[in-house]
Assembly symmetry: D2
Homo-oligomer: 437 residues x 4
Amino acid sequence: SDGEFFPNVPKIEYKGEDSKDPLSYRFYNPEEEIMGKKMKDWLRFSVCYWHTFRGKGADPFGFPTMKRHYDDESDSMENAKRRADAAFELFTKLGVEYYTFHDRDIAPEGKTLEESNKNLDEMVDYLMELQKKTGVKLLWGTQNLFSNPRYMNGAFTNPDAHVLAYACSQVKKVLDINHKLGGENLVFWGGREGYQSILNTDIKRECDHMATVFKMALKYKQENNMTAQFLIEPKPREPTKHQYDYDAQTTIAFLHTYGLEKDFKLNIEPNHTTLAGHDFEHDCIISSKYGMLGSIDANTGDPLLGWDTDQFPSDPKKAALVMGAVIDQGGLGSGGLNFDCKVRRESTDDVDLFIGHVGAMDTYARALRIAAKIREEGTLPGMIKERYSSFDSGFGKKVEEGTATLEDCEKYIQENGEPEQRSGKQELYEMILNHYV
Amino acid sequence: SDGEFFPNVPKIEYKGEDSKDPLSYRFYNPEEEIMGKKMKDWLRFSVCYWHTFRGKGADPFGFPTMKRHYDDESDSMENAKRRADAAFELFTKLGVEYYTFHDRDIAPEGKTLEESNKNLDEMVDYLMELQKKTGVKLLWGTQNLFSNPRYMNGAFTNPDAHVLAYACSQVKKVLDINHKLGGENLVFWGGREGYQSILNTDIKRECDHMATVFKMALKYKQENNMTAQFLIEPKPREPTKHQYDYDAQTTIAFLHTYGLEKDFKLNIEPNHTTLAGHDFEHDCIISSKYGMLGSIDANTGDPLLGWDTDQFPSDPKKAALVMGAVIDQGGLGSGGLNFDCKVRRESTDDVDLFIGHVGAMDTYARALRIAAKIREEGTLPGMIKERYSSFDSGFGKKVEEGTATLEDCEKYIQENGEPEQRSGKQELYEMILNHYV
Amino acid sequence: SDGEFFPNVPKIEYKGEDSKDPLSYRFYNPEEEIMGKKMKDWLRFSVCYWHTFRGKGADPFGFPTMKRHYDDESDSMENAKRRADAAFELFTKLGVEYYTFHDRDIAPEGKTLEESNKNLDEMVDYLMELQKKTGVKLLWGTQNLFSNPRYMNGAFTNPDAHVLAYACSQVKKVLDINHKLGGENLVFWGGREGYQSILNTDIKRECDHMATVFKMALKYKQENNMTAQFLIEPKPREPTKHQYDYDAQTTIAFLHTYGLEKDFKLNIEPNHTTLAGHDFEHDCIISSKYGMLGSIDANTGDPLLGWDTDQFPSDPKKAALVMGAVIDQGGLGSGGLNFDCKVRRESTDDVDLFIGHVGAMDTYARALRIAAKIREEGTLPGMIKERYSSFDSGFGKKVEEGTATLEDCEKYIQENGEPEQRSGKQELYEMILNHYV
Amino acid sequence: SDGEFFPNVPKIEYKGEDSKDPLSYRFYNPEEEIMGKKMKDWLRFSVCYWHTFRGKGADPFGFPTMKRHYDDESDSMENAKRRADAAFELFTKLGVEYYTFHDRDIAPEGKTLEESNKNLDEMVDYLMELQKKTGVKLLWGTQNLFSNPRYMNGAFTNPDAHVLAYACSQVKKVLDINHKLGGENLVFWGGREGYQSILNTDIKRECDHMATVFKMALKYKQENNMTAQFLIEPKPREPTKHQYDYDAQTTIAFLHTYGLEKDFKLNIEPNHTTLAGHDFEHDCIISSKYGMLGSIDANTGDPLLGWDTDQFPSDPKKAALVMGAVIDQGGLGSGGLNFDCKVRRESTDDVDLFIGHVGAMDTYARALRIAAKIREEGTLPGMIKERYSSFDSGFGKKVEEGTATLEDCEKYIQENGEPEQRSGKQELYEMILNHYV
């Protein structure tokens, strides 16, 4: 038989491009080598616990639509464990080696901090066993500092120091359990670190507090010899009107301003990137170029919708631009491609959970093949290199080396006059890219 | 008589709130003191040369609509001087003490750099005379690195070093003439410093070059004992698809990354801010809070339009949030409120140039009165102060001082349990603000 | 004492513009006559039941924040009645004469249709009593066809006829109870009548079904001698990706296509209008001009946010453009200004419910005063009339009468040549409008 | 040799999917039959005159970038003819059988209407010869009522009847020349038929005038036995803030309101569709479903940019949704796929004109193959049919036939109770679509 929770779903296998079986991979062949590395090591897929095991299809206008036979919707520890069992069956059948969670996803929040922490401890032991049994690893843990009403005015940036203290207590606990479970990173998403109205907000004081908390967390990490890479996940808005970690570069500005730029990288979510007005791939590429791309929440949004839809990605061309950046930086390091995605609330069958992941994994596997082929054939990279070649020697090289002056520039023009026009050839680049997709 | 160029427009006078004369100020009373400073010194109004004296109403779908009797539309020096005469008549009649220009606004571009520079020199002498005669001063000059086709692929970030050299030659000249004319600032707007397609672009190499040019300019400034404050003007897009100086915080990230944060401030344009997805006032406030607000291009856009409309502002409530930030930082320093605004292309009467400025100046003058009254009465500032008062003593103060640890936080919660809920009261803040508007 | 449920809130009184009491009206003086009609009869304010008595501050990222001492959050009839009592105390203290509801707001949904209907019957009797006792009237009722999971794929446009049948059963019941309670209108909001993905959707067949249901409802209305005005409320998206009633004109297209244009008017919500890419006032004005403005859900959104925020309005200038349209059509008829608004989820005090409404009512009362003054003074209307005066006689009049031909036009140009240029003077219009605000 | 104007560009041939020659088709094989029709007859490609032969790369921030050796940029008739020769060489080398123009694209505007018309007559004779020689046909002509300053306040909706008369004179002439050249359609794009500010605008009177002009044009068409299909091209905004023909359904509302729905179809431009907040394919599909899809301006925009970029399309998946609608309605009738596209202003080489078209034609040819294969294999269409099958018999069929009542619906629920839940399976549809792309 095929397991306890999803008996009708087999282990998903690679069957090649012509397969019409929706429960097979057409492009993802985990052990296949691409550019000197196994596909699974380039892609480092991860399933997220919240959407796939805690999300039930509620939206601002409707009640939950999804019933799972393994989830009685109670807050009992027994239910929490049964959900974990189901989760690891899904991870294993998909062949995904990583997962991610918020503290409140895996264990019920208690009436007090102590009770919540006790629940966490029990579940962490349980997850440890499941990890050992299956070989599935923790990509990262994070603290949920946005669902509980106490955080309505912010967590690290709450006007009330008492709430900040509560948030920090959660951070401390997550640092501990993440370490225990071997979490390779630890994510900070400041969902309510921002403002609804600038009229009642002291934004400078709030940002100062946020930086202070990050410093406390770093200190605790160092004192306890923890190694998880700290990651900040930018988002421009929702639930707040304006979130302080608006996008990759706003977050980099924050880190530099407070001297934190060496201790943090970014966890980029394309759906957040498009909400900030940038292309799907932009924040991945810009972070990567500045050595700040730590991990990716590999979802997609709808460019015409103004909220986070967290959809499973299905556009190999867009994904190929992301995988290109990943290849160019030599891989994701301790990060991964985490499916911060939810099946649509109308996709209510259990099997839809698998279909969503299989489609997304194949989208990124196809993207990896495309990006690798582009680099191996070299046409597009060569065109770009040639385009900037005036900086490889002579006057241009002097500019790159930082030794040219304004006077040198003027002299160069006096001697060489007007530059020649060179076409940017965008349509040609687009056409050639289509050869690979 | 009333001048040569606008004979039917009198000197605009303050006539008080009940005036129905569109050629009078209802709120702007330049010498009146508000919070210890003259209105004109808080507001430091400036007229821009390009929209008001070079813009003629062309748009992407239509030819110019505006004829000016003082502009024969030739590229002659005589025409350039007549335009300058008209400009100074307008400045004087409005009672505005500052103006701003791009190099190509004031003097025709020649066939060679030498010829362009010669034209500039002649016009600079002419403007010096007009400045002396009228007392009008130069708020800032800047280089036009976007109109000429040579800059189609960027100026400082052009893939061709030859173009970069040309752009730097223009910068050198503008540094010189700005200094000669006593320009209090110098602005860099990177209109084409960005990309149309990420497919043909090496964004890291381009940003490196941009930083290198800024360093050349700083060196030249220092070596020549110039004092103008350098300002960068962010804009998210248009004409490029993505501009590297996307918004205030992206620009701050750039400055920190390249070690330039001490030598530059920002020139914030609200229309650019809303194009980046932020409220009108956001980039002014965030820049101000981090000591980076240098000057303001006091226009407005339409939040439903996706392009720069550069409209004259007419919303005193929005402007009051900006003036609040200006008051809180003690004034604009060497900066000003520069009307980077154009009359609509359908507003073709000469007098519309005056009406646009009078309406905008009154909007900001009214805004100053509102913002000052809010501070003098103290209700809203007091509510905000009270909201954060838990950080003024005890545990909260320890957090602000940076001496609290995660362990302290946890201990605080163990002792004090769940925080009390405190309403954010946004509707009350909005209601009270309406008392002042 | 001041009532059972909000003991600390007095009856809200008009205290004039200088009042600093947040629980007083500065502009709303219900019995005062403006342009021949009492303020309350121009404004016809209405409180909505769902946000103010059923909303608790949940958002997509957070649990409810609001506790009401009169609501034990159970699904009991007793609780439903206590909420109704509290609601009528709020209506009465505000001095609002209308309210609105969805069927599921006022009575708990049962396990079967019969049980739900039985609950409704009991609550309708209860509300009848409260209406009689207080004089508060029902502006409109509507059916909730979006919250229950059965409607996840649409109600009237569900691919399953079974679901359509269920939706129609609810409509039938709401027609009955709305009639019984004297509801002056009946609203259809097609929250899930649209698509999430065009890939799985037959949009034509779905729209045909929607029209068929409207015809069934009309037939039932006529056969039962009901008089409520049917209203459709457009919205572009959310919860669906694309809603068929996108905006006012899309809905008018639908009504015409299916021959329903005489039997329906529109209920316009400014927040939905801005989500569709139009200005706050646009859909009110365009509907009004074509005789289709039936009622207004008087809220506001944030033009930079891509979802429905349903905020209490606080911009008198925008509201004045809406009230201008209302004055121009002689009033709202059977419609009203219904506050489809919710206090922010951070505004958790009971009194915030009052502050939100008081601020909004004053915004619209101030707007009415502004719009009336503009019409009474006549400056702006006169400028517009003059602008189009070429159509009042001669050739222009012939065009308006529909008797001119293309040949006439050509002849006119042959005789008269090029037209003179006339400035649109937008800045002057904006300046003059500011005189009134 | 390969022609006079583009000597280095050969006739573009179909070379199959593996071709790496940018001047070859990989997918477009004009004579190949797909679903019973030649590819060229499904696609009916058309080149537009304005972008490709009159556009020179100016943008709101920059001067023209493109020099064409065959265009001396004068307004002479000789130059106009040389441009026409070059155009027909490009049409022929691409193998495109249709073209489109505005009156002012093909012949210089004169000082008077008479002079303009005389220029047109001369050029029409010239084009007739070129059409005969090459077999290239006119898809549609249209009148430019937006570039000349006289139209700054609108053409058909201008507040000045004199301007309306001028616009109508142009319409009359275009009707004549379009007829003479065998134009199969005639397009109305109301670029300035809208408002910049609602404050100075009587929108009802303006829309009435627009309808009146359409009626004059219809009358003239009928009286002169012309057969061109009239088409309206919707656009939401730009150059105006709000254009009356906002999108497909707004335009349909307008046509119905004024009784014009039988005499007009729509010319849909995907870039305009996305500017209106809809998906690329939405307006094509919705128009098609209601029998209103007349022709397509086959370009694309950038969903993150708020202005019309008129790019050559390069996304076969999006284009396949459009071609699916075209197949489902049995072809485009008298319409075509007109490339209302411009090469980027940085794409300054002559050959870029070809590369842009070749890439776009291949995108749509590939799309046709995808859409046909989806229909031939039948998997996706079958899933949709099954999804709505409850309406094919029994109660559902009664609903479709319009004979069910609300009472029937209630009875159905009383007998059948709660419907079963059926998953929408969006992820499965997306995955299967990816099999074809």
